[in-house]
Amino acid sequence: MQDRLTEADGGARVRTLRGPRLSNDARERLAGYLFVAPDAIGLLIFVGGPMVLSLSLGFFSVSGFGEYAFVGLDNYRRMIADPLFWRSLQVTVLYVVALVPLLYVTGLGLALMVQANSRFNTVARSLLFMPQTVSLVVVALVWQVLLVDKIGVFNQIGAVFGLGSISWLGDPRFALFTVIVISVWFLMGYYMLIFLGGLQDIPAEYYEAARIDGAGPVQSFFEITLPLLQPTSFFVLLVSTVTAVCGSQTFDLIYIMTKGGPANSTSLAVFYIYQQAFLFNEYGYCAAMASVLVVVLMAITVLLFMLTRGGRFTYG
């Protein structure tokens, strides 16, 4: 119909209008591709390209001064035999397993607490998000001062209750736990905002209907809120997992506060990879480890997609 208008259409138009030859479907597809193109091209150049290069670099010995030598799978064999690499993976798994659920619970909990519109909640939301606006270096330095052995604020408070001095960052039993708590403090405001967006998408009528049917707040939460937050939950779980493995806080906090210590107890995979590259000039080995990390992350992503059916959700 819209392809061709002629005099037969009532004589209002005298010339033939030729529309595009593409079908509606094709035009929509084209528009979609064009919208995605800038991002896709950017990703291809700035992420895809370096990823391919990094993957290739894993098969070379790279001095860091211009010399390359093909070594096949040597870097991967070395990785398998490297106890520190396995140790860093172990630390990373502990960090992810603790951080992701904590971020989910705190993010959702805070969002539920401040979701109602009020002046107090507006201020509370801003305050909770505020850590995100501060440089991670500053965050690390401030926490370091608070956590000093013997004379730090936390140890002073502990002393009031008769507790001995705890070395929060210098004792391998506590250091990773401390970094996890600081990471949660830093990131929870961001996930709170994501959950707030998800909560606002849930129609208020559902809660009204539930109330009329006699459902209490707990039942409403488990029967309405949580199921309808499935897409948001998927996003939060995916992004927080990636953040836990290789987010900026993973490196910055460790670099400033512990340098991977004490006794490698906070040496996350990302930090160990950094050390191999920039302190030891082992660029090939570092690229091989980074490639493995990417594969692990991709596997986790696929698993999450499969478990949640891509976070798909229909109101029906």
Partner: protein
């Protein structure tokens, strides 16, 4: 004949032409790194002191050296300041070299020497230095900067490690100069007396890294240990290594030493010793200048490292050195600059070294002539203690490849902070060092 309006318009440069011209002009004149000619005439010197570094006297020394060179040479040198953290274990230098754009001049410590030497970027400075000037360097200081008799780095300071103590803390605990410990056992006992609910008795570095290893080596050497035999095998699995690992472990386990230092780390004397966080601190000669600037009223004393049973006093002498990039824009001029600045007494290098060691900082000099020329300064105040008692026992900072450093670092960390059995840690590190040495092909490890 009149030009048509169209032609008149054509005679004016179009917007596109103006833009293109601007871009071309900018490319030619505005960005020095684009111009090879400019690069060859201006050498970039990366370090962490100037311009705009944290300590005015050190900033000024660097600025003065560069001004004196630039006033008398055609090829100019430009200082590029890189913050300390970004310089020492940051990405700045490694990425610059990896991308083929390393600085023409930079500074390195012995700990990093092999990394850059084995990478082929250190210029042989020997041809630029007269024989008498080469001989002027103390042999134990220049040794870690030489390969096959050739000099690849010129030091301008030697930084021996010592123990500093707070006079007020000693007085509070009823201790006097007579209680200054001379053995490891004495040190732990005195540290225990100095420990209070808000203060640690003694502080050793606990942050993992090159610096921690650097501060630990003297305790290994004092008991007769080393990390390598003359045959190039690991010597780390030894009673001396076990003893030194246990010494630091005991200090933490007894609760007299902290697990985390304050400020920048175990080198940072003002936030740790002057603030009262600890009463005795294991740090280097630079602490004199740091206390002079950061805590001028703080009363302190200095003593040499205590010794283990049956051991012999030794300390370590680190320090930074000028190096030239063999793959830089003008290696010859860079080499000449290094030699002129630090290896040419007739051009004022002796005075420069004395000024650095006595005015800009508080260090021992790497040359005999500087020690002589600055005699008055080196024989007064706390520098005299270093000159007379501490420096004579200094052994040069070892140079070792990163895998050897890392093996030792892991052993220190595991024992000091994770309660591992020192004998087991020494054996594990030794096995790792042996595995690495069996395939190592770089310059000799010293």
């Amino acid at each position: 004949m009149k030009d048509s309006p169209k032609r008149s318009a054509r005679m004016l440069p179009s917007r596109r032409t103006v833009l293109a011209g601007g871009v071309a002009a900018t490319a030619i004149s505005g960005f020095p790194f684009v111009s090879r000619g400019y690069a060859a005439q201006t050498l970039k010197f990366w370090q962490f002191y100037a311009p705009g570094g944290g300590v005015a006297s050190q900033d000024k020394w660097y600025e003065d050296v560069i001004k004196a060179w630039n006033d008398s040479h055609d090829v100019k040198v430009e200082l590029v300041y890189v913050p300390n953290n970004a310089y020492m274990d940051g990405t700045k230098l490694p990425t610059a070299f990896a991308s083929g754009s390393g600085p023409d001049l930079f500074i390195i410590s012995p700990g990093d020497f092999l990394r850059y030497y084995n990478g082929g970027v250190l210029l042989d400075l020997t041809p630029f230095i007269e024989k008498s000037a080469q001989d002027d360097f103390f042999p134990n200081v220049i040794a870690s900067r030489k390969v096959n008799g050739k000099i690849y780095a010129l030091p301008y300071e030697v930084e021996p490690m010592a123990m500093y103590y707070s006079v007020d803390a000693f007085n509070e605990a009823g201790l006097t100069d007579k209680d200054i410990p001379s053995t490891w056992e004495d040190l732990l006992s005195v540290a225990k007396k100095l420990t209070t609910p808000k203060r640690y008795g003694v502080l050793f570095e606990t942050n993992p890294g090159y610096y921690q290893n650097f501060t630990w080596y003297p305790f290994l050497w004092e008991g007769g240990g080393d990390f390598q035999t003359a045959e190039g095998k690991s010597a780390f699995n030894s009673p001396a290594a076990v003893q030194a690992l246990k010494f630091w472990q005991d200090a933490v386990n007894m609760g007299v030493a902290p697990r985390k230092p304050l400020g920048g780390g175990g080198w940072d004397v003002v936030p740790n010793l002057a603030s009262g966080y600890c009463a005795i601190m294991n740090t280097g000669i630079w602490a004199i200048a740091n206390l002079r600037e950061g805590a001028p009223k703080f009363k302190y004393g200095v003593f040499k490292l205590p010794t283990p049973p049956g051991g012999k006093y030794l300390t370590i002498g680190g320090g930074w050195a000028f190096v030239a990039n063999a793959r830089g824009s003008n290696p010859k001029a860079a080499g000449e600059f290094c030699a002129w600045a630090l290896g040419s007494p007739k051009d004022g290098s002796t005075t420069r070294i004395v000024d650095w060691c006595t005015k800009a900082k508080s260090d021992m000099p790497p040359t005999k002539s500087a020690l002589e020329a600055g005699k008055a300064a080196f024989e007064s105040g706390f520098l005299k203690t270093f000159t007379d008692e501490i420096y004579p026992g200094a052994r040069g900072e070892p140079r070792m490849p990163p895998p050897v450093y890392k093996a030792i670092s892991d052993a220190i960390q595991a024992c000091q902070l994770n309660g591992q059995d020192p004998a087991q840690a020494a054996k594990t590190a030794s096995d790792q060092i042996d595995a690495f040495l069996s395939t190592y092909k770089g310059a000799p490890i010293l």
